[in-house]
């Protein structure tokens, strides 16, 4: 990954049912940086993240990836991002391993063994267990395992720590730091206190 990798938000506005969630938002994020989006409920955090993924269209403004609008890039951009939203995006009828295989099939597979990925999120024992038998926290960990098995530069995470305990939070924070050290980027929202080095952390407060 070169230093040129850059996510730019240009003059972005989002209006929902007459209410302006945010207006004229501009910032940029380089490799190795993390953007923490803060704000009270309904301040537009999720909307901003979904606009960044390209799932939602902004009412005004543009998102540029290496200088090119993401609406023009589509598939080339999707290959670069990984999104974990409110929903885990895992099928309850399939086992953990089958779910991860699906993630790989639909994206760009990383050079990581699926078993190792499960080990990393502490689910190794559950490889052949159907997801419907997992707890909420375990499902969340499986959802986050997609970050390891599909290669991507930009991670877009909407409340990744929901239903996770302290210990797994800490291990994911280490994983995030690793990703930043590899010149990756993270955009995330979280109600939890984040215990990560402030040096490459940007904060954006949408309630202001």
């Amino acid at each position: 990954m070169s230093d040129a990798t850059l996510l730019q938000i240009n003059n972005l506005s989002c209006i929902r049912d007459d209410r302006v969630l945010f207006e004229h938002l501009s910032l940029s994020l380089a490799g190795g940086q993390m953007l923490l989006v803060e704000g009270h409920n309904g301040s537009g955090k999720t909307s901003l993240l979904r606009i960044l993924t390209g799932l939602k269209l902004a009412d005004e403004g543009d998102i540029l990836w290496n200088g090119v609008s993401i609406t023009k890039l589509t598939a080339d951009y999707y290959e670069q991002i990984n999104y974990v939203g409110h929903h885990d995006g895992v099928k309850r009828e399939l086992t953990c391993l089958e779910n991860l295989r699906l993630v790989q099939a639909m994206g760009k597979p990383a050079d990581m063994d699926l078993d190792d990925a499960l080990e990393a999120v502490n689910l190794y024992r559950y490889g052949d267990t159907p997801v419907s038998n997992l707890s909420a926290g375990q499902k969340r960990r499986l959802a986050l395992a997609r970050l390891l098995v599909a290669e991507s530069t930009l991670w877009i995470l909407d409340e990744p720590f929901t239903s996770l305990d302290k210990k797994s939070m800490a291990s994911f924070e280490t994983m995030f730091e690793q990703h930043l050290q590899n010149q990756g980027m993270i955009v995330m929202t979280s109600h939890h206190q984040i215990d990560m080095p402030e040096s490459n952390l940007l904060r954006l407060d949408l309630s202001a």
């Binding site: 979904r50 993924t53 390209g54 799932l55 939602k56 269209l57 598939a75 999707y78 290959e79 991002i81 999104y83 939203g85 409110h86 929903h87 885990d88 995006g89 895992v90 099928k91 309850r92 009828e93 399939l94 089958e98 699906l102 993630v103 790989q104 099939a105 639909m106 994206g107 760009k108 597979p109 990383a110 050079d111 159907p130 997609r146």
Partner: protein, 227 residues
């Protein structure tokens, strides 16, 4: 490791959807049961007059197939929509229309194909002429995929709505009219001993048209529904 090729991704998703259905076997028979029951209602409602039933059999079977196809449509995207898999598919590096086509194919294999197996039994029960039965199967084979493809557009448009069911039928049924006309008339014609290749050719044309166009509309509609 490399990204899957397009055809590999298509087959992978098709197999995934089939696996999902077989792990929920209970729901598999529902559209088929509906199809059989609707047809059973007709003799009860209009009287078991053999000539009359044989005369209207193509129409009944096709209207029932149409309704069964429509009612089963909701399941194409429903569970993927609810658990967030759909947004992950939209963010996939593969082109969405191809993935949509895979899902619709899987859906047709489990809902459309069983109708094909059941249709001869029902045709016999309604006393349909045996010359017409082959054509009946042919029209179902060609026609029901068209129903699934067109219907998937309607489902994609209404998936985010709480009460999408009624509005779905309002959107989709008018678009089913041409298939219904040509399929029923092909069976009628075959029963009367006419050459029905024009009707069959029309149905084939509908199939090619909907295979090539509807996945685009469906993925555009899914994108709209997810935003």
């Amino acid at each position: 490791m490399n990204r899957l090729s397009l055809s590999q991704a298509f087959i992978f998703l098709l197999r995934r959807d089939l696996t999902l259905v077989f792990r929920n076997r209970g729901e598999l028979a529902n559209p088929l049961l509906f199809f059989v029951m609707v047809i059973t209602l007709f003799p009860l409602a209009i009287g078991a007059i053999p000539e009359l039933l044989a005369r209207i059999a193509p129409g009944i079977i096709w209207v029932a197939a149409l309704l069964a196809a429509m009612l089963s449509l909701d399941s194409v995207f429903r569970s993927d929509f609810e658990d967030g898999s759909l947004e992950q598919l939209l963010l996939s590096a593969h082109p969405m229309p191809v993935l949509v086509l895979a899902k619709v194919c899987a859906h047709w294999l489990v809902t459309g194909l069983p109708l094909l197996l059941m249709a001869p039994v029902l045709a016999e029960m309604l006393g349909m002429a045996s010359e017409a039965q082959g054509i009946l199967l042919l029209t179902i084979l060609i026609g029901t995929p068209v129903l699934s493809l067109i219907g998937s557009i309607g489902v994609a448009l209404t998936i985010g709505l709480r009460k999408g069911g009624i509005i779905l039928s309002l959107l989709v049924l008018p678009l089913y009219v041409p298939v219904l006309i040509f399929a029923a008339s092909a069976i009628d014609g075959a029963g009367a001993g006419f050459d029905v290749s024009p009707q069959i050719n029309m149905l084939l044309a509908f199939l090619f048209l909907s295979v090539s166009l509807s996945p685009w509309a469906t993925s555009a509609a899914l994108k709209m529904s997810m935003s």
